[in-house]
Amino acid sequence: MAPVATPFFFYMLSGIMLIGGILVITRKNPVHSALALITVLLAQAAIYLMLYAPFVAGVQIILYAGGIMVLFLFVIMLVNIDRAAKERTFNSQWLVGSVAAIALGGLFVAVYIKGNNIFPEHALSVIENDNTQKVATMLYGQYMFAFEIASLLLLVAIIGAVVMAKKRI
């Protein structure tokens, strides 16, 4: 199926993502930040769909918006937010941090101005209906070793998280 009204959806989702991102880094209450981040993640899943990556979009919703954000909300409930809400929002080196971030933004703008049209558009008209099959074939074929390493990484992360969060080992 050919895409419908691509510019409209792109700009709408971009607006949602940027506003959500700004809310994430400016809200005082971490729960509000988490909700804004969930909005950003869902809008990004929609953008993946626009890029013909339905499998990544599904993984994004299930794993990010469903898994990682629940983890964040649990930890927000565990730590005491009443005291943190009364304190300042920004840390003691916010001025240096802002200058560094603005310098990075200037670098991005310079790259954009200098490197315009560095990525040519390919004539890509084939719309794939077998995206998930392709991902699976590649993941269990060419990227088998990386896949196993990723499972090992998750095992290490589970053990590390339990060791870190446990009172007595």
């Binding site: 994430v24 964040f72 991902v135």
Partner: protein, 105 residues
């Protein structure tokens, strides 16, 4: 106007750069550790957006597979980071990143 109405890979890259910048600002200026970790998630998402956009540009699924690996990494990083945060909160009774100065000179 023509370039506004025809969405190219560059549009996705600009969006990714903007999100990356927001994440960097959050990491460098916020003082709540939970929100610093959320900003890291923003940064990883910006990178994922670029990867999937390039995957669309070149027509393969290599970029999408890399994005899936980045999501796996993000899950591992969030689990360990939040575990460290809980250990820190138990020791110091705060989530203020200015208090994390054990290694400071």
């Amino acid at each position: 106007m023509e370039s506004m109405l025809h969405i190219t890979t560059l549009h996705y890259l600009v969006l990714g750069a903007a999100l990356f910048l927001l994440g960097v600002i959050g990491v460098l200026t916020r003082r709540n550790v939970v929100i610093v970790l959320m900003s890291i998630e923003l940064i990883l998402n910006a990178v994922n957006l670029n990867l999937v956009a390039f995957s669309r540009l070149w027509g393969g699924v290599h970029g999408q597979i890399f994005a899936i690996f980045v999501i796996t990494d993000a899950a591992a990083e969030a689990a360990v980071g939040l575990g460290i945060l809980i250990a820190f909160f138990r020791n110091k009774e705060t989530v203020n990143i200015d208090e994390v100065h054990l290694l400071k000179w």
